[in-house]
């Protein structure tokens, strides 16, 4: 393995950042979803609507948080008192006076006039520390409640949202799934909601608390000494603006980083999925080079972000330091000049102002993070809101019909349909399937056979014309109602993680084990499935991955069969089954299609020669129709297809 010990070839500073410029990598720009969204009242209102059911709780917790911050904000004052006990000629502080008042109230008055100075100081220190401890204890108890309840309300909102997204996805029609990438749909209910969690849980709290903290700290500084306060508070806006600039630049750098990272991970994921092809075509070394190039770009992007971060963070620190310097210098001047005066500026006050300055600066930096969080959450919120606002294409009419029993007549009356209405794939198709008839659809790939099956399933509604079941327009029928009478086996044999048994029972969860077995033996594939390592209890793996294509298709067959549908749809259902098994199924089909209307799409024309009616489709239109014999006699398209099929 010649590359394993290859030296690291990262010279990130020499590489350009923006353009991967990697030969052989996908030559297109992957489309990324926006990470940030500017403040937008509409989106915010939407978020507030999600939170509204718990607004009282949120409000209460914001107030409790406010109380907590208020209590903690006294800390510098305690420190001030403590330090100032050290000043010559110190007086009893207010807590100490309370203690003495209390002592005289319970009948043990203390005469302080005879006390030496340390006694006064001791009492001052003890009372200060005691009250300080009480304050902090209360603050911590409140904090515990705030953490618990705020998270509780926030998580409630998030979980309600998760459920809403899932319900909405179940409600939406196939057209949504056709035009939306799987990964995107996945992100809506997982990553997007996770990214919002910090904002939804702590958003209000962070906003209220930091704002209050900043204002209170500024007020305290002004109250302690307005001259020093005015001398430094102007740095607040400067810091704020620097912070915003920094966010903007780092935001851009981070976006580049994420894009580069997406390229790395997409490349990795795709090559692992296609590992068999990679191996078969010997592309290992080229791929490693491409991968390492992408990685090098990723490294360069990260270094760029680190540089911005490395410049701005210390800069913020320096601005904050400038404030400290001003406080100390000004404080020193006042302290030394005013020493001896009665209302002097004491050392404790200097320390208190110094600490309040830190308290004032903290929220400014926090606001930067909060701003970031908010932008990110809003981008996610907007996407989730778009999903939730999506209208299902196939919706029920005002008073939908519910069919109790169906004979199984299906009529297409001048149906025209296109996934994109501008490009119809089915043009003016009309036919009638009498109850119990077998109708086959034949034609080249992409001629619209599968689309007709999807239309019968009511996955889509036609743009023109009508489709009726037993004379009732399917538009009039209640949403899930027709599916009670429909059974479909498609080319795309999807199984859910679980056992074979669970998958067969999917459409009829109440069916007993015995019923499943009977269905399987009626289909003639009981033996084949029971010969699996764990029989019917065998795990099918993620999407049926543990089974062969043929076995998967047998299970899909059994699943549709157990559902006992009135209308059976077989869309290329037997293409992956070997001839023997197909024979078994063909024979079972004889029993299966009895008294059911059946639609078959097949490439293997041998499957369909016995149909009542064969519809030959071409470019979305029905070219020929009739029985096998009639169509052969006609000598048209079908006869040609058939000739190609039987002769090599």
């Amino acid at each position: 393995m010649k590359h394993r010990d290859a030296p690291l070839k990262t010279r990130p500073w020499l590489r350009r950042r923006h353009d991967p410029g990697v030969k052989g990598a996908a030559s297109f720009k992957p489309d990324f979803e926006a990470d940030y969204r500017a403040l937008d009242g509409k989106i915010l209102r939407g978020v507030w609507e999600w939170m509204a059911p718990y607004r009282n709780g949120y409000l209460l917790m914001a107030l409790a948080g406010l109380l907590m911050s208020g209590l903690e904000l006294i800390t510098p004052r305690f420190l001030q008192q403590l330090v100032d006990t050290d000043i010559p000629g110190v007086q009893l502080n207010i807590f100490s006076s309370w203690v003495l008042d209390f002592a005289s109230w319970i009948g043990r008055p203390v005469n302080t006039s005879r006390w030496p100075r340390p006694d006064v100081a001791y009492l001052n220190i003890a009372t200060t520390i005691f009250v300080w401890a009480l304050t902090m204890g209360a603050a911590l108890l409140i904090q515990r409640q705030v953490i618990w309840y705020t998270t509780y309300y926030g998580q409630r909102v998030l979980f309600n949202l998760r459920a809403a997204v899932f319900r909405q996805l179940q409600r939406l029609s196939m057209n949504y799934y056709d035009r939306t990438r799987f990964g995107r749909i996945l992100t809506r209910g997982t990553g997007d909601i996770d990214s919002m969690s910090n904002f939804i849980v702590w958003g209000i709290n962070t906003l209220v608390n930091n704002l209050a903290m900043m204002l209170l700290a500024a007020a305290m500084m002004l109250w302690l000494d307005w001259r020093i306060a005015l001398a430094v508070l102007w740095l607040g806006p400067v810091l704020y603006i620097t912070n915003i600039l920094y966010r903007r630049r780092i935001g851009h750098a981070w976006r580049l980083t994420r894009e580069g990272w997406t390229r790395v991970s997409t490349n990795l994921a795709e090559n692992i999925s296609g590992m068999r092809v990679v191996n078969a075509f010997n592309r290992q070394y080229e791929n490693l080079d491409v991968f390492n190039d992408l990685q090098a770009v990723n490294t360069a992007n990260n270094m760029h972000a680190a540089l911005i971060n490395g410049i701005y963070q210390p800069l913020l620190g320096l601005i904050s330091f400038l404030g400290r310097l001003i406080i100390i210098a000004l404080g020193a001047w006042m302290l030394l000049r005013g020493s001896g005066a009665a209302e002097a500026f004491h050392i404790g006050k200097l320390i208190a102002v110094y600490v309040y300055w830190d308290w004032f600066m903290g929220p400014v930096i926090n606001f930067g993070n909060f701003y970031n969080d908010t932008m990110m959450a809003l981008a996610c919120a907007e996407r989730v809101q778009t999903l939730l606002a999506e209208k299902p294409q196939v919706t029920d009419v005002q008073t939908p019909v519910v069919i109790e029993s169906l004979r199984g007549e299906v009529i297409f009356d001048h149906v025209t349909f296109g996934y994109d209405p501008a490009h119809p794939v089915i043009h003016d198709v009309s036919f009638r399937a009498a109850p119990g008839e077998v109708i086959s659809l034949v034609g080249h790939t992409g001629c619209g056979k599968s689309t007709i099956i999807s239309l019968i399933c009511r996955f889509y509604l036609p743009q023109q014309g009508h489709i009726t079941f037993d004379g009732i327009d399917i538009r009039e029928i209640e949403g899930t109602n027709p599916h009670r009478f429909l059974g479909i086996v498609s080319q795309n044999n999807y199984l859910f993680t679980g056992t074979v048994m669970e998958n067969i029972r999917y459409a009829r969860p109440e069916a007993s084990d015995q019923q499943v077995r009977t269905a399987l033996s009626d289909l003639g594939c009981l033996e084949q499935l029971e010969s699996l390592p764990d029989g019917l209890q065998a795990q099918v793996g993620e999407r049926g991955g543990a089974l062969s294509l043929g076995q998967r298709q047998l299970i899909c067959f059994a699943r549709a069969f157990l559902a006992d549908p009135r209308i059976l749809l077989l869309d290329e259902a037997t293409s992956a089954i070997d001839t023997y098994t197909e024979l078994v199924i063909q024979q079972a089909l004889a029993r299966l299609v009895k008294n059911r209307t059946t639609f078959i799409v097949a490439h293997r024309l041998s499957t369909i020669t016995g149909s009542d009616c064969i519809l030959v489709m071409d470019h979305g239109q029905i070219r020929e129709r009739g029985s096998h014999g009639q169509l052969l006699a006609l000598g048209g398209m079908y006869a040609e297809l058939y000739r190609q099929f039987i002769s090599p």
Binding site: I272, S339, T497
Partner: protein, 635 residues
Amino acid sequence: MNSESKPADLQGRLARLERMSNRQLVGEMLQFVRPVRYTAAMACLLVGLAVFLEIFGVDLTRVIINTLSHLAYPEKKASSPGAVRLHAAGGTIFNSTGLGAVESLLVLLAITTILLAVTNLLRSLANTKLSMDMVYFMRSQAYDRLQHLGFGFHDRHSTGQIINRALSDLHNIRFFMNLSLVSSAEIIGYVIGYNLLVAAINPWMGLAALAPIPFWLLYIRYFGRKMQPIQKSLMDTGDQMVSIYSEAVAGVHVVKAFATENMEIKKYQIKTDQLFDQTMQTVGMWAAFVPTIRGIATAANLLLFFIGGIMAVHGILFAGDIFVFGIAMGAVLSRLQQINQISNQYQTAIVSSRRFFEIVYAEPTVEDIPGAPELPPGKGEVEFRHVTFGYKPENPVLRDISFRVPAGSMVAVVGPTGAGKTTLMQLLARFYDPQHGSIWIDGADIRRTSLASVRHSVGVVFQETFLFSDTVAANIRYAHPDAPMELVRHAAQLAQADEFIAQLPEGYNTILGERGTTLSGGQKQRIAIARAILADPRILILDDALAAIDPGTESLIRSSLRELLRNRTLFVIAHRLSTVKSADQVLVLENGFVTQRGTHQELLAESGHYRDIARIQLLGFDSSLVEKPAVEVRS
């Protein structure tokens, strides 16, 4: 045979991994630090410098305040020499500039702060460099391994699992190594530095400042232990919830077809409820954890202030010293909270590293002998000699298979599902090595030739088509990225793909895959065939690759293949008799044995599987002529 010992060897290595204690695993993880050790040392050094400068700055502030207090209250006696220690130093440095004591200290503080800012900049760069280089090296190694492990490994692990290991498991390990290196240095630096500072002011205070540390550590440990199982079940439930969600999305056509939306909603709801309960359980613990940790810190802090206050009254300490206690406790506490993060990350990294090492230590399915010769030139003569193979050696899928195929002929492999047809072909491409027997191409044992030359000579079109999210042209020229456009077009024409590609929105530059145009199964298969044709192998294998293609197109492809394959050998796995009929030789595979061999005509003459399936398929046609279906579809 050495190939028999291989699985045992593999298991031995993986078993060793299983036996490893957590500590040994961390030792194993250190190998990832080795290639970046200089950067790591640099990062730690810068951390040390930053910690030193920060603490020095705090000490300067302390001395400034002490000096101020000294100057402001001259009647107070100073009994501590520490208070004026740096005052003197500052004075000496700046005496020549004519500045006063406080002024010179302030200048010194400013210089320190600027130095700190510069150090922090360098530190941020070194840190990122360290983490990026480490991840670069690890990912590149994992990627290389994955590419060379071969099919065996990919059979055992699902794609999602492997991607997860190579991305998030790797990330977890890297994050832990980074954190434990740099953050540990930082934490140790802060704890020792601040304690030295406090101890230098007053040794007794230094001792008192150490008091809360054991409480913190014990509580963090206790909390971590209690949290871990809940955290794990929380992650599991989260995974299950996502899996229900993703299956409901991926299988939406099934959900819709059977109208089981409400069932899915209920399934999901049950999991989200469970996850909510577990989340609140952890929140309950956090809600207790944060105030408790802060409570311990506050108690210790207040104790220090109390003692400090009394000492100050006696002139042992000064205002600045008390101020430093507050700063020191706050700084140490915020770093110690990171221990919790490190221990969390440690737990994740242990789990992740076991999984990641399973990749790093996995034995490749097929070992390439170093310096093995290339496959000799030839036209694709193939011989199997007593080949026995099973994915698990105790369950052979192919048993004692021997046959010879002359160069330039077309061979059809037929047989029921699970008979071993695909396995047979994968052995030929050397995706696996047989346990017994040998496979020869043009007179060379493929196990003794270089793997790359075998893969170059054998082209495979897989049953399940995989195309990359790239342009049509890039997909077709996958084997030869530099192939000119004419060759690409020619290959596409032979595969009957040129026509539909031309109709795609951007022709050969159309991007395929999830992000691009989606093709039908038959169209994808045709592109895969074109890709194999362009690779220009001497042996071409079509593994049921014509199944999704309609009969008309299929017969066109077959005739163009025949044209192409004058000098090549073609293997076709197929169910359709029409495909099989034209083969020079038909192999019937049943239960891992070759039960019949011969031409179509020969096999029709003897009784067996082939005649059975031929009858089934042909009967349909014969009966149709008399208008009586072979399979009665109606009573």
